[in-house]
Symmetry: C2
Subunit: 236 residues, 2 copies
Amino acid sequence: MPTAAMIVIGDEILSGRTQDVNVQVLAKALGARGIALSEVRMIPDDVDTIVGTVNALRGQVDNVFTSGGIGPTHDDITADCIAQAFGVGISVRDDARAILATNYVNPERDLNEARLRMARIPDGATLIDNPVSKAPGFTLGNVHVMAGVPKVFACMVESVMPTLTGGVPMLSDDVLIEKGEGALAGPLAKIACRHPDVSIGSYPRVVNGGFVVNIVARCTDAALLEAAMVELRQLA
Amino acid sequence: MPTAAMIVIGDEILSGRTQDVNVQVLAKALGARGIALSEVRMIPDDVDTIVGTVNALRGQVDNVFTSGGIGPTHDDITADCIAQAFGVGISVRDDARAILATNYVNPERDLNEARLRMARIPDGATLIDNPVSKAPGFTLGNVHVMAGVPKVFACMVESVMPTLTGGVPMLSDDVLIEKGEGALAGPLAKIACRHPDVSIGSYPRVVNGGFVVNIVARCTDAALLEAAMVELRQLA
């Protein structure tokens, strides 16, 4: 199965100011495409950390996705970091500038120096479409660089997915059981042993002061998945 | 400033089935205690990955926090992985068993083999209190091992915080500006230059189809922070 990693770039996530919602959006889209998200790293807006993390991960997985730091302000340093990670130049590119210009009635006047930063693209990258606010993301090698704003991120994910080599989609099913995990663990382990090709997870949560458990089974083969689910449903 | 890293352990996060909410809870608690969360990694339920990640991070930061994988079921492997990472033994410990027993009217009958898994604690660890459902977390060296269930995780964070060496708390303030970032970027960069001790971030989001920007300033010194905020508020 093809693999992917995600790098969430942003002091605002690590300070707790902002709740990340992009990981789940990407994870679901990758799962539907048969690509396994094998790691997420959340890191600060720091050049050396970004460059090091990109270079560490791009050799380990088939696809790396970044979110955050590609806007027009002084703290948007991701595009420069990606260029540095790949050892290539970066400059305002005509195709990106033309896309940005469509946002303005009077581009000559409104496409100021700050906004033009969003047309700075590392050499050799291809653009990622941004139907929300035009400013494109880009793909360089196996690294897909996308905006952090959730609405824009989600659209860029949609834009990128068809370009990726997918695998057999992971199927999943689940059953909610109103018991504590302690009462289920023994029989659950036996079911897991009998179905080695099905990944079975147990996810408790607190509802009205008591524990309920969501049992999730995952497998690329529908028949194997259903065979496990038949047994899992009997735990309820 | 003391540093921390978090390891979110769980296939359910990486598959997109579950939205993580624990990162933000920990990030806020650490910030209030003057500890910087410098990295988060989300990794699968895989022994080698967990052991490797714990050992990579515990040498890099002052505190490592893990969430997930300490329940009674077959997929709860975190405690064993921590023992392996530190090269110590793990067994059912009397103090942890006694705490678990308080959950049951008839512990002799109800504290079954699966539930006793939650009393397996690596040698040398100290317990972390869990007022929600008793089953304790634990601290071994500088690694704090906590439950993934958000309600339990949040309580364990409360239990651990007073035991940590804190620093000067990071203060922050913000101003919401109903303009696009492109119009603000120039003056914002100048303000950032004039206040080098204040970290200034610009976080756009889409509201009613248009962009608004939240400008966030962070500093450990209240007077320096306010001096920057005076200028930032004039951007509105």
